[in-house]
């Protein structure tokens, strides 16, 4: 792991820079610290930071850009050499990458030498077999031009890494020399260091934007290439979800959207009444001892990971529902409405339980934000507590509660584990809650796990689904937050 050692080396240099810079500053003041502009450690930090930061930045930038540049050059060479179009060059490029990766592993395990690779003849050596022994599976036999390209790829990567190491170390040395030279008792080290720290803080804050940009772009590019392979009309307007490997898959989001909405609806039907009544009771009726006992217990429900709810749906709730609604004469009601444990109702019920604390704690906050004077006025006019709640508190809190329900809905739509384990895998339009149906998140998981080929629409559709999901939940969230915010300002 040479990068690891390079980074360790940089940190060591920077630590040494701290000690030396501090020492030189104190020396320049003749040992009298109060003659320095800044505290002595600032001089140390200055040297340490100017040694470390430019070098680290260069390292990060180089590691991100190098694969891009090399891939572009190698694939450009392939397509000009073979006069082929772009898509097949892209396919070959992934072969080239795998072969070169495989050769690297082989060298690292002392199975091959660099010399051997340089003189290797693809037709003479069974490279595929040898790499398969090392656990690297290749789709087809290694053709000579691929081996040449892979060799080139390796050489370029190798020399690139060497150059990177040199540049990074040079930058560290230059940074050290420059800041060490500047170190003097009149040098305003604190101002420089603080400006630097400020920039770092701003960088950390902008990482949030970077993440969003990353999310949007990573899905957008793949979605665009999906729409290049598959018609957008079928995706948005079709009625069937039937991926296959013959190349005529029908990939429409509508049946998945229906399953998602249906399950979320059942979840909200469970969670909203229970959560809302629980919140009303806790904030309006319960004694403080009841509240201090019931609230943390409700919050435990919120802290349980979704995998637990998923398992609960798959192994407990699903079989229980089958015993009630299925199995014919052996079942509790003698019905045969339900055959498998996975169904819309299974997932919806369990998701409802998961959302209860979410709804109740949000509504609790909102109900508590209604001014006490409004309650007092209503009670003073002779209304009972429940009349006050129903006719004064709830109407006043309604926008906030609507916001809370929307937030819960966005949670339900984006929830993955419960539906993966409890909802089933059949995409269809049906209103029977005892049938199994599938959702957007379930299909994302199933299209992106296992063997995936990132050139086929069956895999790429997951990115289009992900982008739709992102847009959907983001829209709901923005709407909900806007409603909650306007409402809150009303009473502040």
């Amino acid at each position: 792991m040479p990068t690891f050692w390079l980074v360790a080396c940089l940190f060591l240099m920077s630590a040494a820079g701290f000690v030396l810079g501090r020492y030189r500053a104190v020396l320049s003041a003749g040992g009298e610290v109060r003659k320095l502009h800044s505290l002595p450690s600032y001089y140390g930090y200055n040297v340490a930071l100017s040694t470390l930061l430019p070098a680290l930045a260069a390292l990060a930038l180089w590691s991100i850009l190098q694969p891009l540049v090399i891939d572009a050059r190698v694939s450009g060479k392939i397509s000009t050499d073979l006069n082929s179009d772009n898509t097949s060059a892209e396919l070959m490029m992934s072969d080239v990458q795998r072969v070169s990766e495989g050769l690297n592993i082989a060298v690292a395990r002392n199975e091959m030498t660099n010399e051997e690779i340089r003189v290797m003849d693809a037709d003479a050596v069974d490279l595929r077999g040898r790499l398969a022994d090392l656990g690297i599976a290749l789709g087809s036999e290694v053709r000579p031009e691929i081996l040449t390209a892979a060799r080139q790829h390796r050489d370029m990567t190798h020399s690139g890494r060497l150059m990177m190491t040199i540049v990074v170390v040079l930058l560290a040395i230059v940074g050290f020399a420059r800041s060490y030279g500047l170190t003097d008792k009149d040098f305003r080290a604190r101002n420089v260091v603080e400006r630097c720290v400020f920039a770092l803080l701003a960088l950390a804050a902008s990482l949030a934007i970077l993440t969003t940009v990353g999310i949007v772009f990573s899905m957008l590019f793949e979605t665009i290439s999906f729409f290049g392979l598959h018609s957008w009309k079928d995706f948005f307007l079709g009625t069937t979800w039937a991926p296959n490997f013959r190349g005529d898959s029908e990939l429409s989001i509508l049946p998945l959207l229906w399953g998602t909405i249906y399950i979320s609806l059942i979840a909200l039907l469970v969670a909203v009444p229970i959560g809302l009544y629980a919140a009303i009771y806790l904030s309006e009726y319960a004694s403080s001892s009841t509240r201090s006992f019931a609230k943390p217990l409700l919050e435990i429900l919120a802290g349980i990971p979704t995998i637990v709810y998923g398992l609960f749906a798959l192994l407990t709730v699903g079989p229980m529902l089958v015993r009630i609604f299925g199995r014919g004469t052996e079942g509790l009601l003698g019905l045969t409405w339900m055959t498998g444990a996975t169904s819309v109702l299974t997932a919806g019920l369990v998701m409802g339980i998961m959302l209860i604390p979410f709804v109740s704690s949000l509504s609790d906050d909102i109900i508590n934000a209604v001014p006490q004077s409004m309650r007092d006025a209503s009670l003073g006019l002779g209304a009972t507590k429940s009349e006050t709640v129903r006719q004064v508190v709830i109407p006043a809190a309604l926008p906030g509660i609507v916001g809370a329900v929307l937030l819960a809905a966005s949670r339900a739509i984006g929830e993955t584990m419960i539906v993966v384990m409890g909802a089933g895998a059949i995409a269809k339009f049906s209103t029977n809650p005892l049938e199994s149906m599938t959702t957007i998140t379930t299909r994302i998981v199933s299209q992106l796990t296992g063997d995936t080929d990132f050139a086929s629409p069956e895999t790429l559709v997951a990115f289009a689904l992900g982008l739709s999901l992102f847009v959907l939940t983001l829209g709901l969230n923005i709407l909900a937050l806007a409603i909650v915010r306007t409402y809150r300002e009303q009473y502040d």
């Binding site: 950390a204 804050a205 969003t212 990573s218 990971p305 995998i307 009972t384 009349e387 998981v445 983001l474």
Partner: protein
């Protein structure tokens, strides 16, 4: 002339009119709805917890069968020179006859009459028994020729029989075990050769293949989860605290800051699976980091938990009263010194609490891990170094539980519930630490 009061109460203040009665009844009903809502939620919690405990505790006990095995020299070391390479040439198939012989002898000694063949008798042992024997012989070649006492894992069906999961009526369609084998198990229990003991291998051991649910353990996936949480801690804490300090203390009030703030609150509500897609596209497809590596999982979970950490850190920072900042600035500290020397230490307990809660969230998250490939294989060996712990394929606790829940053999379900107990124990202890930190150090101003 009658007052309105008279009309309602029939003239007496002591009697409730029908309207008052109706209103009071409505009041009682409304209150009862509230109590019912709380009761239903708490009941669900109880059902969930009792289900987990009742179904999962079994995984912490395992059935073992004690047998005397004669390590025949002519089978294991034909040349008789105790050469390790020669001994290693004998595959597990070569060890199976020893086990068969041993169990037939034991049954004969006990005087049990059974119509079972030797192979069927050995069927009550785990399929890994021969491998266990082989490992022992390779580690102790000197014992070849002796008779050694072994504790073998019982097969998952026998284990289920002792735990009450499997009964004679439930195995009618089960090819893995017959009622005659259960009779044999009964007589071996009477002889004291089959017993249930605490199963430390479930906590420290590795996952096992589909065929051997009795040998599957959580140990390796715990290591995977821990390395991911370490990555999250190392990245999310400094970045989150840095971002919060910037936004809370230094950010100018302009549109850029607004965009960042809106962004963070929206990121907190993005479905976790979207972060998985991001991880797959950026870290694996673009940056070519290894699939299934805890490092990638840690990076994805870092991005996912950052908003949580930023939100709680900002709350902790803004809880420090302005007088502290004014005092520090007044004695000549720079704004940066004020924050790092005075505000940050005072906010530290709140920041730590928020971070621990964020880490707990990361530990329990599954969906993004499915997309970066942390399921679908048997993580059989513990990583041997920090680098391989971060870069070699591994599973994580929730992913391992999901993997078991997907397998066809219901014996794995017990493992999945048991794994959940372990996962919840981790989460509970992390939250307890957070609560204690808050109680112990948090200052009210």
């Amino acid at each position: 002339m009658k007052t309105s009061l008279d009309r309602h109460s029939g003239g007496s203040l002591l009697l409730q009119s029908t309207r008052t009665k109706r209103r009071n009844a409505a009041e009682t009903r409304f209150k009862l709805y509230g109590i019912a809502a709380i009761a239903i939620s708490l009941l669900m919690l109880m059902v969930l917890l009792t289900t987990i405990i009742s179904k999962g505790l079994g995984a912490y006990q395992q059935t073992f069968i004690t047998l005397q095995v004669e390590l025949l020299e002519k089978k294991l070391d034909k040349k008789g020179n105790r050469n390790l390479t020669d001994i290693k040439k004998v595959s597990t198939f070569g060890y199976a006859p020893l086990i068969k012989a041993s169990i037939t002898d034991t049954v004969e000694e006990l005087g049990v009459v059974t119509g079972l063949k030797a192979k069927q008798m050995a069927g009550i042992l785990s399929k890994g028994a021969a491998a266990q024997l082989r490992d022992y012989v390779i580690a102790n070649p000197g014992r070849i020729g002796d008779t050694v006492q072994f504790r073998f894992l019982a097969s998952s069906r026998v284990d289920g029989y002792l735990k009450g999961r499997v009964s004679r009526s439930s195995i009618e369609n089960d090819k893995n075990i017959t009622p005659e084998q259960l009779d044999l198990v009964d007589s071996l229990i009477d002889a004291g050769l089959i017993e249930k003991t605490f199963n430390i291998d479930f906590i420290v051991g590795a996952d096992a293949s589909d065929q051997r649910p009795e040998a599957a353990g959580m140990g390796v996936s715990i290591l995977g989860s821990l390395s991911m949480v370490l990555v999250v801690l190392a990245l999310a804490l400094p970045i989150g605290v840095g971002a919060s300090i910037y936004l809370e203390e230094f950010a100018p009030k302009n549109w850029v800051t607004d965009v960042i703030e809106v962004n963070i609150s929206n990121l907190a509500a993005v479905p976790s699976i979207v972060f998985g897609i991001l991880g797959l596209a950026v870290f694996i497809n673009y940056m070519h980091l290894p699939m299934s590596a805890p490092l990638v999982g840690g990076l994805v979970l870092t991005l996912m938990t950052l908003p949580t950490i930023i939100i709680s850190t900002r709350a902790a920072l803004s809880a420090v009263p302005p007088s502290i900042r004014d005092a520090a600035l007044g004695v000549g500290a720079s704004p940066m010194q004020t924050v790092f020397h005075h505000v940050l230490p005072l906010a530290a307990p709140g920041i730590l609490t928020g971070t621990i809660i964020g880490l707990a969230q990361a530990l329990g998250e599954t969906a993004p891990l499915l997309l970066i490939g942390m399921v679908g294989f048997v993580a059989s060996n513990a990583p041997d170094s920090i680098a391989s712990g971060l870069l070699s394929p591994n599973s994580a606790m929730p992913a391992q539980i999901y993997e078991w829940a997907k397998r066809a053999d219901p014996a794995f379900y017990e493992r999945a519930w048991g794994g959940i107990i372990l996962l919840l124990l981790f989460l509970v202890s992390m939250n307890l630490v957070a609560v204690i930190l808050r109680r112990r150090f948090e200052r009210r101003w």
